[in-house]
């Protein structure tokens, strides 16, 4: 951990002194589209197209956005399950962007992933003991008191019975399987846990259990989370800071309170207005923003601001200039020319000709 100075934008209200655990700069992942026998590249799916953020030790960063906005790709990039096309990823001050698998292996211990599909993420042919013990075997770690004892301790930690050691994944429910996935991710005491939609495949009642378990484990083990989800309530419940993604870009990055109370990006505002309100009286009072049209194709994203095609505030400048992600308030970064709840950056601009 050598680099402590803030680069570019001012970020964060809390723990500014602490060096970031993870620092991502200009991260890009383009999936090439090839054609013909010679695999000529004719285009690229710009899944992640230049994102910057930091994760500080001990915090939970929530990443939210629509399907296909690049959240999961981002998660796979920072765990280095996928190779970035551009940009840098620094973990504890060390550049891991293009480390070969051999040099990456020690880092794997500190960065773990919890997967979305509790049915696909556990090998059906291995026992629970084998699955949770795999990280030890792969990293050559001999836990104190033996492997079996440690695995059983981990099972207890996530609320499963140690007797489940010799059972197989198919004998468990989705929520229990997700706990097994969590136990496996925590086996080597990682510093950073990336959870890709950890509860979206679960029943709502089970979601609460798993979310609270992750919360408790964070307190207990001092974990840092990056939680990717599309469910705003889950994100609100777990996150300290939230990044909103749209079409491969972060459009807003703020701490939970200021994001939910005073969203600045029109897209965030629209997203928040879509959260179901359980009270029918209040439901009629609030104004819902209905976004028109579909998310544009990431193969050929709109010029300038990517949200302008669906934005009710879009003007000429939105089509020509891409808004940079800047801090309009301390700890509240937004990429918009006409932010809500803040002075307009381009007030005198001509209204856009096409909405």
């Amino acid at each position: 951990m050598t680099e402590t100075e803030e680069t570019g934008v001012v970020a964060g209200t809390t723990d500014e002194s602490a060096a970031p655990l993870l620092r991502v700069r200009g991260l890009v992942r383009h999936f090439p589209i090839t054609k013909g026998l010679l695999k000529r590249q004719v285009g690229a799916v710009q899944a992640v197209d230049g994102i910057d953020f930091e994760v500080r030790p001990g915090e939970t960063l929530g990443v939210v956005g629509e399907s296909g906005c690049g959240k999961s790709t981002m998660g796979r990039l920072i765990t280095r399950l996928d190779e970035p096309t551009g940009g840098t990823i620094e973990f504890e001050g060390r550049d891991i962007t293009h480390l070969p698998p051999g040099k990456l292996r020690p880092m794997r211990r500190d960065v773990q992933m919890i997967f979305q599909d509790p049915y696909g993420s556990l090998n059906p042919r291995h026992t629970i003991g084998g699955i949770v013990g795999t990280p030890f075997r792969l990293q050559g770690v001999e836990p104190e008191g033996g492997l079996k004892k440690e695995v059983q301790r981990l099972l207890e930690l996530v609320g499963l019975s140690p007797e489940h050691y010799n059972r197989y994944p198919h004998e468990f429910s989705g929520g229990q399987r997700q706990r097994i996935g969590i136990a496996r991710a925590l086996a080597l005491k990682p510093k950073l846990v990336v959870a890709d939609e950890p509860v979206s495949a679960l029943d709502v009642s089970i979601q609460a259990q798993v979310v609270n378990l992750m919360d408790d484990l964070q307190d207990e083990l001092g974990l840092t989370y990056v939680i990717i989800a599309h469910d705003l309530s889950v994100i609100r419940h777990v996150s300290d800071r939230i990044a909103v993604m749209y079409l491969g870009k972060i459009v807003e990055l703020a701490d939970r309170k200021s994001l939910y109370e005073a969203p600045m990006h029109p897209y965030t505002k629209a997203l928040l207005s879509a959260v179901p309100v359980p009270d029918p009286k209040r439901r009629t009072q609030r104004d819902r923003i209905l976004l028109k049209g579909d998310v544009p194709s990431p193969i050929d994203p709109p010029s300038g601001c990517r949200f302008r095609t669906r934005c009710w505030k879009a003007t000429e400048v939105c089509a020509t200039t891409e808004p940079p992600l800047v801090a309009l308030r301390t700890g509240h970064e937004v990429a918009c020319h006409h932010p809500e709840n803040a002075p307009d950056g381009a007030r005198d601009d001509e209204p856009a000709k096409t909405a």
């Binding site: 796979r76 696909g120 059906p124 499963l160 019975s161 010799n166 197989y168 004998e171 979310v211 959260v275």
Partner: protein, 345 residues
């Protein structure tokens, strides 16, 4: 660390997270452990579950019993012959009508001494010859299947796992092998190796050539199945999980993928065995497989063709042997497929 600034539980628009009491959460595993009537539920591996499913399939179990019996008989065919005092190659000219060269008794010369009759011209005991043919048939079928499975699995897994150019290369290789005129090749190779090769001659040579020809040209079927399975398995999240823990290629191949491939490999090998038995019979029937006087089912059929109008018994006996064997293996294979992969039903 631990900067929890908010109370956990329901608040505002939070719909999902509802506080569950620790007691309820802890009680859950126990509830799963106990069955409805408080009966202890036993943990079972996928293999045990497959076995339970298989046991319920009566037809498959019957097939399995026949297959086991056949294998036992084939393995012990020589001891059985000497125990019963039979010899597949000793002629009994006294049982042959010298005018017609046909067996003199009814039903192809059936008698207590020769329960399945004798063959025309020489009067050799058909029971002994079927017995002798069984081990030849099974050894060729098993050997050839083993060879195809070995080549097919290795190349299929490699093609599916590494994809890209390796996959293209192996897939084209499979196409080449499938396009090969197998029968002509078998005839040519057997004819050219008639005298002896690789230090082998006679029966061992014929058996090796059959195993090689059948096994070496059947692997693409196995390879394609394994490749397809590998392609779908490698996209599963548990492979990502292993990679995220620092697993190397071989670990993923052998520890994560192969255990999931065992089912389909077993099933398709059991279905490959009967087709290889038929293939061996066909080659021997054409005269390029096992050479007379060695008894083999295909070779017996070949001889029987000349007599099928006057001595149908001679054709029925080896024909039935092939029929029963192939049917039993197919029933077993189908049962195994249903048991190991219930979705494919």
């Amino acid at each position: 660390m631990g900067r929890r600034r908010r109370p956990r539980g329901v608040k505002g628009t939070v719909t999902a997270p509802i506080e569950t009491t620790g007691a309820a959460a802890e009680a859950q595993p126990e509830a799963v452990l106990q069955g409805v009537e408080g009966k202890k539920i036993v943990g079972r591996s996928l293999g045990q579950i497959a076995w339970l499913r298989f046991k319920r399939d009566k037809v498959a179990v019957a097939g399995a019993i026949v297959v086991i019996l056949l294998i036992l008989v084939a393995a012990l065919s020589r001891p059985i012959q000497s125990w019963l005092g039979l010899d597949p190659n000793s002629p009994n000219r006294d049982l042959i009508d010298p005018n017609t060269t046909l067996p003199s008794g009814d039903f192809g010369g059936m008698s207590w001494d020769h329960p399945l009759g004798v063959d025309p011209k020489f009067g050799r005991d058909l029971f002994a010859r079927v017995l002798e043919g069984s081990w030849v048939s099974l050894i060729v079928a098993f050997g050839a299947t083993l060879l195809s499975v070995a080549i097919g699995t290795v190349l299929g897994v490699v093609a599916g796992f590494y994809r890209g150019r390796v996959d293209s290369l192996i897939s084209r290789l499979m196409d080449v092998f499938l396009a090969f005129p197998l029968l002509l090749f078998a005839i040519a190779i057997s004819a050219s190796l008639q005298g002896g090769a690789f230090g082998l001659e006679g029966l061992p040579l014929h058996i090796s050539v059959l195993i090689f020809v059948i096994g070496f040209f059947n692997w693409p079927y196995m390879g394609r199945i394994v490749r397809a399975q590998t392609l779908s398995l490698r996209e599963r999240e548990f492979v990502d999980a292993a990679r995220g823990m620092g697993a190397r290629g071989p670990f993923i191949l052998f520890r994560e993928l192969l255990p999931n491939l065992v089912g389909p490999i077993i099933v398709y090998s059991t279905l490959l065995i009967p087709s290889n038995i038929l293939f061996e019979a066909a080659l021997s029937f054409l005269g390029v497989g096992i050479q007379p006087p060695q008894a083999s089912w295909g070779g017996m059929l070949n001889q029987a063709v000349k007599y099928y109008e006057v001595d149908p018994q001679y054709m029925i006996v080896p024909g039935l042997a092939i029929f029963i064997t192939v049917l039993a293996f197919n029933l077993l294979g189908d049962g195994l497929r249903d048991a190991l992969d219930p979705r494919s039903r």
